[in-house]
Symmetry: C2
Subunit: 346 residues, 2 copies
């Protein structure tokens, strides 16, 4: 690194664009490349896509290989997909170009449970090229894993952990409201679940596996239940649609980490248009008991973008390999001027 941290943006969907804006707002971060597959934006200046009036001077490309042969980046931010198998080739390209990676890919947040072999391969590749790879975001990455893990720090003994995320989906992006089935009939909802067009929250399994690993727990199994519709009792008007009574207001995703036949890690993700009080809560049964709550919850998109940006210095300073949030130093907000981190290792 010279006088700025060089950033490659990989994926410019809704979250990728928010990340791009956040990167542009920080001093000390310079965007040296922008990749996306969407024909509508390839060839355009990044500023145009961000609907800002300012030209960024970086043209969106779909030719990663050509770009990687030209640029020198310190960190690639990959915001393309939730699934490890899809993001893996993208990670590989960056790693082989000697670029550290932070990704919003939910399954990358703790990939060792679902994909132990692939995780080890990524870890070895990263070590070979001397770079660090991390998956993070607000959830997975913070609310249902990092924060509950930290909250067990003052516990002499932990019997069980329950985490609840209660979100008012009517405040969220229209595409998000659609994704969780808002306004559908219960039959339509079930059909879309069966067809995997509604997936519920991706990351519960990863969060459970990360908590268990942090606590040194061997689980019998991780059980993820299919998302359940939350049915509207009365008409609800949202920015996306009007939900009629008896129709779907949103959904509830639940997963359990089972130890000795008992659900010891319970994650509840509840997101619908009739939520009265938003919050994020962690309840730890143990010695001592810890009942923690963030009133109003944490905004998902803002939180994810912040986590990605704020983990940049931790990743630049980490040992090479595939890391997870539990392996890195405490997350923390970064100052407006990130040049304070220029002394990092890579």
């Amino acid at each position: 690194m010279e006088n700025e941290i060089n950033v490659l943006l990989y994926g410019l969907g809704a979250i990728g664009r928010r990340i791009a804006k956040a990167v542009l707002e920080k001093k000390g971060l310079r965007i040296v490349g922008a990749v996306d597959i969407s024909k509508e934006i390839v060839g355009k200046d990044l500023g145009e896509i961000l609907e800002s009036n300012k030209r960024v001077g970086v043209t969106v490309t779909d030719d990663v290989d050509a770009l990687l042969s030209k640029i020198k980046a310190n960190i690639a931010i990959i915001a393309t997909t939730s699934y490890l198998k899809d993001v893996c080739p993208q990670i590989e390209k960056c790693v082989k170009a000697g670029i550290n990676v932070i990704s919003t890919c939910e399954e990358l947040s703790y990939p060792y449970y679902k994909y132990p072999q692939l995780s080890n391969e990524i870890d070895e590749l990263a070590k070979k090229y001397g770079v660090t790879v991390l998956g993070t975001g607000i959830n997975p990455g913070f609310l249902m894993d990092t924060l509950p893990i930290v909250l067990t720090g003052p516990c002499k003994e932990v019997e069980s952990i329950k985490v609840t995320r209660m979100m008012d989906s009517s405040k969220r992006r229209i595409s998000y409201q659609k994704k969780i089935g808002t306004g559908l009939s219960p039959e339509e909802f079930r059909k879309m679940i069966d067809e995997k067009k509604i997936t519920g929250h991706v990351g519960l399994v990863e969060s459970i596996a990360m908590i268990a690993e942090a606590l040194g727990w061997k689980l019998d199994e991780i059980r993820e239940f299919p998302p359940e519709p939350v049915i509207a009792e009365k008409e609800i008007v949202t920015s996306y649609t009007t939900v009629k009574p008896e129709f779907v207001a949103g959904l509830k995703s639940i997963a359990h980490g089972i130890k000795n036949g008992k659900a010891v890690i319970i994650l509840e993700f509840i997101s619908h248009a009739a939520v009265e009080e938003e919050y994020d809560a962690v309840s730890i049964e143990g010695t001592p008991k810890i009942y923690e709550k963030i009133a109003g919850g944490v905004h998902g998109d803002i939180g994810t973008v912040a986590m990605i940006i704020n983990m940049i210095p931790k990743v630049l300073n980490a040992e090479p390999g595939l890391m997870t949030m539990k392996d890195l130093p405490l997350p923390s907000a970064t100052p407006e001027d990130m040049r304070v981190y220029l002394q990092m290792k890579r």
Copy 2:
């Protein structure tokens, strides 16, 4: 390390004894030495001091040098004093014997602000002997530094942080109630403050300095106010004494981290016998705002002991040097059987 982590206990006061009990409860931790200066306990078996019926087979000694020449320990737990200057020679002895150190010493939690030179000396010495030194506990170490730092992780921007610890002192040890001036007249309280017989909470300055460093903030100054008495409105009966109306129920310690003339980090430690609701709260003004609260608070003694035990594997696995909580991976509870950590570096 062979088949157990060898622990040296240094300091067997109220907290030291609680730590000793916790160490004995964990599989995989073996006490190889116990040090204290109190003539009443030197020469006795540790089990006798802990008022357990079980002989531990470790005799308390006040001759550290002789002990260190005989034993081989992986970690020393120093629970002797709040002040760095007093604990420094003890740390030095352990480090020179090649033993990692975790201490309850409040000023060690973030010593770089008050004692930059001494901190660098400890850091260099630890590096020279290839061991890690950490100061931690519930507060400082967790509630007013680690936890607020972690909670800024999902923040794009932080304007200010306020942390409040509201404690019902009547539930605490008698020695603690005495220490905070419970039952004194306001005049007696002020006199004891002037004579430094009542010090208030030690650690506010360290917690502020750690938060500022984590956030990359340069503070104008850290301002610690003298502890203020909290006056009883009606008679309060505690396990220690009866507080008459207009007498001291406890105290309030406040410190500010000032940036650009504004208090941007505000720590409030409130502990008295008339507290109706115990809690630990963190309020972050920024984007997004985060209002977090642990209902009922976290028990100080249990939390400190747990933090000390739970940080053992992180310290054993860390790079050599003087570390603070912000430099180490996420704190987390440890399982009953700590032999899972035998693969650690040291």
